[in-house]
Symmetry: C2
Subunit: 319 residues, 2 copies
């Protein structure tokens, strides 16, 4: 067993080794997590959480690294959480912590961690927010949550951020592709990286057009800005930070930030509760009970809804 | 209210309109679903479910269409379920049924349906299997489940198929990209489409290499074959059907098919049970209870695990 009070005290002082161990407890779904989270709760809520998503090839790692530098210039303590939800079977992030953003490796004001959120439904949903809590309580002022990989999970991660940055690059393909990826609904700030390439202005125009479609914004509503960058040359990143700070100020002014955080917390509670219930169902009379119900479905003697009723009835009977 | 017994009887006769209405009940999460599924259960379990996944641009729609033709030549009744899990906010499939695979539109032996599985965690998980049940009970012998979009959800859909086909095309990028997408773990059959293009053989070689890595296969284990196609010219599709039938025979011989289906049914039961519990939690004392807990998390006076405990305690108290 880990000495949680000591570890939490050290993490609160921002000691990287303690932070790393706590996040490992999160990844390992340690039973001590409850104790950790209870101890961290009073210290949470100060970090500004920025989600950064985008398709492979748009320059996500480079952009994250350049964004870290920009925040460091502004004197902020920064954490990067690189989440890989796309590899449910491997159980390990393909990119190790060490090869990522080596330029920040020796900066004590930067904490970098990659996290594989293996596993099926809900795997990501409870793990990433707990890691964010650890970093928050450790005094990180800005936490950049970067997704590795693509798809639906991006949207879930965006839902965990205060502000979502969607990264694009020229020549990404047509607007329909972007719309299908669901990114037009999630961005608070859009960044067109590799802006020195042909087609950058066309991408900005197209994005502007798509963002303007079908939306009746009121006078005080947020209009997602589009910022051009060349992350590999560190160009445009201060403008990104500026756009982020504007969004944050806008959210604070209107109470949107508190609203988002409350919604996020509600989702987090629900996910933890569901995970706990799911575990309990799996444990009812061993997995054999579920297996027996499954056999009856395969043989056609039972339908899945009735089976689910029986499973839930079993849950209640044991309590 | 829908007259379920009549509708189910008509669907069992394979009448497309009845099938369409039943799937709409699934999409709309109708309370009558229980009744429908109970009536359909004895007729389920005969269809062979083929999952078809691949990145945008590899020719998924064209391949699906050509695969339908190949199965039709073999005299099978075929259904296509095109699932779009990537657009959680839109609530509608971007590709309508009508623009898809128009060449099969007048063939009464082919049923085509697209399905948007909007919504967060679990949205897809319960809807697609129920639609598959409807098609299965309606006498479709082969059901091709094609994903529109990319990401984690692909893996979930693959988990619902008897056999998973992963589609690639030359020049898709390096193998790491494919590995990151998790596709090397999910394919039972690999198809390299656009095989008339430069680089097709290199893609096959690379794939072969990646599939061979890190795996100790026994003598009777399944080695995923790689089939080359040019779907736009209907080339190679009979070979795909042959590979599928081989995989099916292999699964049946070894009891793998029954195992997969039982595992799928278990997952299905669990998902329905969790969804039901989730709804019940949301309804506990109204959403206000959850909101109140969320506020306490945001203010730092509570941690999410303790909040989840309180939520579950409330669930039990009301039963």
């Amino acid at each position: 067993m880990v000495d949680v009070p000591t570890l939490v005290a050290q993490a609160r002082e921002g000691r990287p080794r303690a932070v790393a161990r706590l996040i490992s407890l999160v990844e390992g779904a340690s039973p001590q997590l409850r104790e950790v989270m209870s101890a961290l709760a009073p210290r949470c809520g100060n970090a500004y959480v920025v989600g950064l998503t985008g398709s492979p090839g748009v320059g996500k790692s480079t952009s994250t690294s350049a964004l870290v530098s920009a925040y460091r210039r502004a004197g902020k303590r920064v954490a990067v959480l690189a989440v890989d939800p796309s590899s449910p079977f491997s159980g390990g992030a393909l990119l190790g912590d060490r090869v990522r953003m080596s330029e920040h490796a020796s900066d004590p004001g930067v904490y970098i961690r990659s996290m594989a959120t293996r596993g099926h439904l809900g795997g990501l949903a409870w793990a990433a927010p707990q890691a964010i809590r650890v970093l928050d309580a450790a005094g990180c002022e800005v936490i950049i949550v970067e997704t590795v990989g693509v798809g639906q999970s991006e949207v879930e991660i965006a839902a965990q951020a205060d502000t979502s940055v969607v990264l694009l690059a020229p020549g990404m393909g047509d607007g329909i592709q972007a719309a299908k990826a669901g990114i037009l609904e999630i961005g608070d700030v859009y960044v067109v990286n590799k802006a020195d390439r042909d087609g950058a202005d066309a991408t900005v125009r197209e994005l502007n057009h798509m963002l303007g479609l079908g939306e009746a914004r009121g006078p005080g509503d947020w209009r997602p800005p589009i910022v051009k960058t060349v992350a590999a040359r560190s160009e445009g990143l201060d403008e990104v930070v500026e756009a982020l700070e504007k969004h944050r100020a806008w959210m604070e002014e209107r109470g949107v930030l508190a609203e988002r955080r409350a919604r996020r917390a509600a989702h987090e509670i629900e996910t933890i509760a569901v995970t706990a219930l799911r575990e309990r169902m799996g444990g009812l009379g061993g997995p054999r009970r579920l297996d027996a119900l499954a056999e009856r479905i395969v043989s056609g003697s039972l339908d899945p809804y009735t089976a689910a009723d029986e499973l839930i009835a079993g849950l209640k009977a044991t309590e």
